[in-house]
């Protein structure tokens, strides 16, 4: 089964800034476990990810701008669910989605 994704909005190499670790449920968008993106806040970073990988943001953030339940973001080693959190002094951001279920 193939899922056709829309083409990235710009050259992937132009966004080098942060390494973003992608959880397995979202890798159909990125085809990679780690991607590069830019942003000075979590909100900006997710917006850049959505420009690079169209559709990924709405799976993570709802239409009211809230991180979906059981989603977490680690800025470096610090966990946050606040999209206004500044990304300062770190090279890596991790998106984490609980795999709870059955």
């Amino acid at each position: 089964m193939a899922v056709r994704r829309r083409a990235p909005a710009r050259d992937l190499l132009a966004g080098v800034g942060l390494r973003v670790r992608i959880p397995t449920p979202l890798r159909s968008y990125t085809n990679a476990s780690v991607v590069d993106a830019v942003g000075s806040t979590v909100k900006e970073l997710l917006a850049d990810l959505d420009r690079l990988y169209p559709g990924i943001r709405f799976r993570v953030v709802d239409e009211q701008g809230r991180l979906r339940t059981h989603m977490k973001v680690f800025v470096g080693d610090e966990m946050t669910r606040d999209l206004t959190t500044a990304i300062v002094g770190v090279e890596e951001v991790t998106l984490m989605q609980a795999l709870s279920g059955g």
């Binding site: 193939a2 449920p25 993570v60 009211q64 609980a98």
Partner: protein, 366 residues
């Protein structure tokens, strides 16, 4: 042609030969994703839409024009307006309905919470139906923010009158049946005669729990409804539900999830009764599965269980029963235990044509 099966763990195609005797099951599509409803567009026979969720990720819609050979995700999936006053967030796309035959590309989606959404480009970009979602009575009709069913309240049974694209119906679990005659700009309840025995007043204006509502395509003034409180038929324009389930055997009752209609005969409908007593097991009454058919618009019902297991303890959900257009009509249902049952003689006899699938949420002829 065959069946497309939406399950709690993905989508399957179950293709039948011309005699509907040999069935071939596909490999899973979207394995591990929740496929709530997968529907083929009868207007072009190629566009397939799938209402999907994935674990804790947000809901979305995929479309395919080659029977799942490749899938495309909606560029703009169904969602409430960002920044709206009620701050609603769509947790699931629950129901899909192709639009009027004269409006190719138009579809409707019902959600949880009970929003209504539409697309004009075959499912790629969706917008909210503001006349419904922002109706001043919506929070009351939809019992917002309470979620009155375990998996969340849902809007289902989106029906477009084949004579008039501006005339539509929707069902709310819970909330009742609602109608618009101006393309969704305004709505009103349509529940007269329908019982809601869980309220002190069993005949309220709204607050009912329709499980599945169907309009007969050859007689669009006739509606059938399988409700939490019985089986009903309505003749328009009168607009009053008659409890035709009163003619069911009393030891079986008239509670269930799905109701399916004969594509040509407005007097014929099939239901799958379930146990609505005590704590509502929702399995077949006394664990004895049986389809019931009426051939006289609900005046009488006949049990159809030839070939079905004598005892079994599954449930058939509201989107998990369907019919084809053959003569005689093929009738199909899928179970929460992952089996698909088929009848090629309008329900007289049954056989299992797929087993051991994940819990089945929807079954559509495609």
């Amino acid at each position: 042609m065959g069946l497309v099966v939406g399950t709690r763990k993905g989508v399957f195609f179950l293709d039948g030969d011309e005699d509907r005797s040999v069935w071939t099951l596909s490999e899973p599509h979207f394995l591990g994703h929740v496929a709530q409803h997968v529907v083929l567009d009868p207007r072009n026979g190629t566009r397939l839409l799938a209402a999907m969720r994935t674990g804790h990720l947000g809901p979305t819609v995929f479309w395919s024009d080659d029977r799942g050979g490749s899938w495309n995700e909606a560029t703009t999936p169904p969602a409430f307006h960002s920044g709206e006053e009620l701050q609603r967030s769509l947790s699931a796309v629950f129901w899909l309905t192709p639009g009027h035959p004269d409006e190719p590309g138009v579809w409707f989606a019902g959600g949880s919470p009970q929003g209504l959404f539409t697309t004009a480009d075959g499912g790629d970009t969706w917008v909210p139906v503001d006349g419904w979602n922002d109706h001043q009575m919506w929070p009351t009709w939809a019992e917002w923010p309470e979620q009155s069913t375990p998996d969340g309240s849902m809007l289902h049974s989106v029906i477009v009158d084949p004579r008039d694209a501006a005339h539509m119906y929707v069902g709310l679990s819970s909330g009742g049946v609602f109608e618009t005659t101006d393309r969704g700009a305004d709505w009103h309840p349509l529940n007269a005669g329908c019982e809601a025995t869980f309220f002190p007043d069993p005949y309220p204006e709204f607050g009912h729990d329709p499980h599945c509502v169907r309009l007969h395509p050859a007689q669009p003034d006739r509606l059938y409804q399988q409700n939490h409180c019985g089986i009903y038929r309505m003749e328009r324009p009168e607009g009053r539900w008659e409890r035709i389930g009163r003619a069911m055997p009393t030891d079986v009752g008239d509670i269930g999830f799905p109701i399916e209609l004969h594509p040509r005969d407005p007097d014929t409908a099939w239901v799958f009764p379930m146990d609505g007593t005590d704590v509502w097991p929702r399995t077949s009454p006394d664990g004895r599965p049986g389809v019931y058919v009426t051939r006289d618009a609900g005046g009488s019902w006949t049990r159809c269980d030839k070939g079905l297991p004598e005892r079994a303890w599954f449930t058939v959900k509201r989107q998990a029963m369907t019919v084809d257009a053959s003569d005689p009509v093929g009738v199909y249902f899928g179970t929460t235990s992952g089996d698909v049952w088929a009848s090629s003689d309008e329900g007289r006899s049954w056989r299992c044509v797929a087993e051991h699938l994940p819990e089945i949420y929807s079954l559509e002829w495609a």
